[in-house]
Symmetry: C2
Subunit: 208 residues, 2 copies
């Protein structure tokens, strides 16, 4: 398959190398096809890759947007992508990586903290179904339970209570990160109900 | 530990049963402590659980909010939870389960579709680091790659390209679900950078 990749940074470069190794033809669309960094990348891809302009990359049957989110609008609007398969890999991150640029500015967890004045709120037990709360064991390995909050002692208690049920608790940061965990819960619900996966699945964080 | 649980539905009931079995004392705070459903639940918890009012549940050292999101504000504002550990399990779901009530009304994926007129956009390759795109194998098992989009053929191509890299692709629904996958990407980034987990971890969807 001919794959055009807009951007040759970590994500675009890694995807291109991986696909080139498996026989796909890669065209990196970059500002300067002759830059040392791009030439290095091409060399690592074997003979299956070359670099050109974004417009050339956009002629491939599959186009990958691996540009920073801030660069996407100008780049995509300038190209003719009608009918193309466009794989969008942009993350709309704040520049300090503290959160999403276009995400919500609150969460049910933060609202609970506002309503329950003075309570030490921990957001937990949302990212999986109640069936998994009854039994989080999957083939001898537990599911992960993500939690977030601002009070370390309260978080420790929450983690212990998750462990009591058989989960592996994972600290997902401050209470504002409920803005990340609540969509993860919604993803589980979507997969279970609309996605037809039923309820016997869950998420696990794995390490090497 | 004495744990008060607001609500005795699927989540609250399951958590209470699980903790009661492990020796915690459970007090379900419900509207009607004598309802048949509540009595059934109490019976299943052994001698470690009883039912009472929300105010009674709120006197426990740990309080769990397992009420529907819509009921949270009134319930929490009415209770004295100062200094309590409050585990908030509320999911701010739309009533048709199509998405989050308080989530964002767009995503970078939907914006890309708007910018790249006529392209068949698939949101993919965001929920893990580029190191995992180079090698998604964790102990002989692949990481999961979630993707979403509105064009079935384009999604099929995206899934094949994820498989080529060694991922297990999982269809996460329509392009609007980029509103769920982009926060998942942010969760990975948060854990890696601010959470101190470095880059050698990833997410896997597991089934029984």
């Amino acid at each position: 398959m001919k794959i055009g990749i807009l951007g040759a940074g970590n994500v675009g470069g890694t995807l291109g190398q991986g696909w080139a190794r498996r026989g796909h033809e890669i065209l990196f669309g970059v500002r300067d096809p002759q830059s040392p960094k791009t030439r290095d990348l091409i060399a690592q891809c074997g003979d299956k890759a070359r670099a050109g302009s974004a417009a050339e990359a956009a002629t491939c049957e599959v186009v990958v947007n691996a540009l920073p989110f801030a660069a996407g609008k100008e780049a995509l609007e300038a190209l003719n992508l009608k009918g193309k398969v466009l794989l969008d890999c942009a993350n709309p991150l704040k520049s300090d990586l503290s959160g999403l640029e276009i995400g919500p500015n609150t969460s049910a967890g933060e609202m609970a903290a506002d309503w329950a004045k003075g309570a030490k709120v921990v957001k937990i037990f949302i990212s999986t179904g109640y069936n998994n709360m009854a039994n989080p064991d999957y083939g001898g390995n537990p599911l992960t339970m993500f939690y977030c909050g601002d009070d370390p002692a309260a978080k420790g208690i929450a983690a212990d209570l998750a462990r009591d049920l058989g989960f592996t608790p994972v600290d997902a940061g401050p209470l504002t990160n409920a803005r990340l965990l609540e969509p993860l819960a919604m993803l589980w619900i979507w997969l279970a109900i609309r996605g037809g996966m039923q309820r016997e699945f869950g998420f696990r964080l794995v390490t090497r």
